[in-house]
Symmetry: C6
Subunit: 193 residues, 6 copies
């Protein structure tokens, strides 16, 4: 098994948490900026993503674009064309819970700030940046722990679900509950180098 912390050693990559048929798993998102797209801002999505997950990707980009000034992001860079990929390429994936992860990966890419090693995250994001609750908290936190992550970001409205996680795992991890994706970005992105 690959160590999850190896994958985020460049800007544009973030570590999500997913529920699979056999428990939880970490789920990397990789992003690249392909060209300036005439300033339109578009996404090329791969990894056999279902329609909910594809919509979730466009919400992540639209949130960043429509709040670029507030977030001190480069609006011109965000107007480009992005490729967002979720390995492994043959495994179908769906659902809204990678919203925070995609938002973070794209913000990392356009700022050049890497995602902190050891941070995993999960949560639906709305167009306003609200973080909505997701399922599978227990499996996701266990998978994060197993993969060598030390910090997990979860939706505030999932706070009650953390009781399902064994205390030993909870004690070994730093868990943040967030209501707004702005807090995810603050917690997950490294400072500018």
């Amino acid at each position: 098994r690959e160590d999850a912390t190896d994958r985020v050693d460049v800007p544009g990559v973030a570590t999500g948490l997913a529920v699979t048929g056999v428990g939880g798993d970490v789920l990397f998102v990789e992003t690249a900026r392909l060209d300036d797209d005439g300033g339109k801002g578009s996404l090329h999505l791969t990894g056999q993503l279902g329609d909910v997950m594809q919509e979730s990707a466009t919400i992540a980009l639209s949130f960043l674009r429509s709040h670029a000034e507030e977030l001190q992001l480069d609006g011109t860079a965000l107007g480009g064309r992005f490729h967002v990929h979720f390995p492994a390429g043959a495994i179908p994936k769906d659902g809204p819970s990678a919203g925070v992860t995609m938002t973070t990966a794209l913000a990392s890419l356009v700022t050049g700030r890497k995602v902190r090693a050891g941070v995993g995250m999960t949560g639906e994001v709305t167009l306003q940046g609200k973080v909505l609750p997701i399922g599978g908290v227990k499996q996701k936190v266990l998978a994060a722990h197993r993969s060598g992550l030390d910090t997990v970001l979860l939706p505030k409205r999932n706070e009650a679900d953390i009781d399902d996680v064994p205390e030993s795992v909870r004690d070994a991890m730093t868990i943040h509950f967030v209501e707004d994706v702005r807090d995810v970005l603050s917690l997950a992105l490294e400072p500018v180098e």
Copy 2:
């Protein structure tokens, strides 16, 4: 449960009322302006919207664009590309009854006038701005009440259906019956700050 009034603290968000499998619920619509789209005016829609609801969104934008002068709206701003999202992202939604809500959210966005806290609404809108009747009045008003809203805007042609709502709830709420979406905008949007 989130307090519905928290969500409309920025321009571009409005609170609709929906019928779900298990009664009624409030339904937020979030809007963002992505770019100027060469003045064409288009919509990017997310939230697993069915085809009737997608058509309804285009009617909302077309009404505002073709009546911009009368409504004192910025026609250039309305010629942009908009993202309209209905959380939660994985729940399919359909029907024409969010027409007034989308019209209000888009008008809020381009004017910068917030939607009044505490106002929920439902009603189909036509391209002329007529408000047509919808179903589920009882469930919708009860959901509005439960969610902390104090004012509900309903189609005039649903006036008879209000009898189904318990008198205690009716007494606790301000209910407006409207024939034209212009009246919705007057009642729902805060004055320019």
Copy 3:
């Protein structure tokens, strides 16, 4: 029930006649001009229209565009992008018999001439402007009468079907039989104000 004559108080709206599962009904068509579309002339259609009805809408616009000079219409205005909507938004509609109604509504919109109050119409239109026969004459005329219309425009080739309408209704209505949509425009549009 709404009075049909209220709806045509602005240019761009016309009253058609349709057969539904339970008899006939009036069917409004609303039109708006969205932008100039680079002179290409296109349609955005809503109201859950079937493919025959969608084709019918393009025939209406193509007829007007290719006969603009003869009809003294503004060819530049007709080169724009139009939204054509048939309320109610959730009810599927199909068939070619709203051809005359769409042609009239679009001509009304670009000329600024309102459709005469009290006029309902039905008939397929060809690209040359010929009016072809339709079904459901009896139900349509009865629905027009019930809705407060006083004049009905029908295809010439449906002349024999008028016998099915009760004499009392026929006497109360003015019925015109037309072979060409040019005659529909002459009979239905108010003079320039």
Copy 4:
């Protein structure tokens, strides 16, 4: 029943012959030039045409465009966007045998030369202008006769099928057998006025 000769009193309309479920029938094709399409040359097709018939329409236009000089046609006019409609709008139609009719109608439109009154035609056209054989000769000729046409253009390779037509009808009609759509254009188009 409408007299078929009335329909071709303007350039751009030609009379085809079709086999229907209950024998043969005349089939009008109406054409209009919508705009210059940036010189690309495209077709908007209506009348519930099947895919073979849609391909046949593009072959007709491509033949005319790629042989414009030889045929002394206006290449710029042929680079426009055309609407080709086959009434009645709700009746599905398919097959390659309206190839000669569409070629003739488009040539008529761009030259301003009307199609001769009384001429009906049928035949597949290839991209080189070859006329390939079709089915239903007997029913088509009978339908032409019934509809008041006096001349029929048929593929040379259907010459043997004419024996199936009653002698009285054959004697009453002028029948031309053609191998090339260039001959169809010579026989069917009126001289320049």
Copy 5:
């Protein structure tokens, strides 16, 4: 039955060989250049072609475009939009074996060099110009012979299949086995006039 040699009397037409339900047949491909397409190079395909055959057409054009200099072809001409049609229009066709025929017809069109009368061909083409083996050698050669062709071009890797063809037919025909579509072009195209 038409004589196959009549069809290739203009540049842009080539004669292929196909297997049908009832043996083999000759299969003409007709090509035309519609316009310059802004130098993009595209294809409009008709004749009810299946997806493998449509891909095969794009391989033919891409081979010619990416080897234009080596093949002394006019790269600008190859950047145009082409219509490629396989009569008869209503008969579905599929498979990769018309690759050499389409390559030859397109090369003929852009050079103005006719395909030699009497030459039929079959073979899959790769993007490098390799000729891959096909099925139905016996039926195809017999069909070529029956149709009056005197020369057949076959893939080198089909050399063993020629034993299935009766010796009398083999003796009457000139048969070339080719490994590369460059050899097909040399053998099939007439010199510049």
Copy 6:
């Protein structure tokens, strides 16, 4: 059987390894650059590729484009439109394991550096260039050996699977295990001529 080493005698061609219904096989990928595509960078894919394999192709191109500077590739050349074809054209193919092969073929094309004769490869590529494990190691290595290849590039994470390959074959081949597609490019591409 064709010798696999013949196919890579020009830049833009690479040799992959695939699992088929009856064992393994070599699988060539051919690439060509069609035009500059306005700098957008796009792919035209043929060879009956499934959706996973099509996504895999876009990942290959996006990796090269977004790492052009680091890899010393010509970013302008990579912004063109590419045709990527997998013979044979009628055989459906799918899966992510040709990722390294497509990346190599495209890098070969834009650098003009041929792929070394005798090298076969297999492996999924991510947008960061990580090489992920694939299936069918045994069949693929056997097929490489059978086809005359002397070197095989496999994912590092498939190292344990090599035990399944008979020792005689392993001894006859040079096998490299790679973690990053950058290593594939170093091992597989010939030096600049």
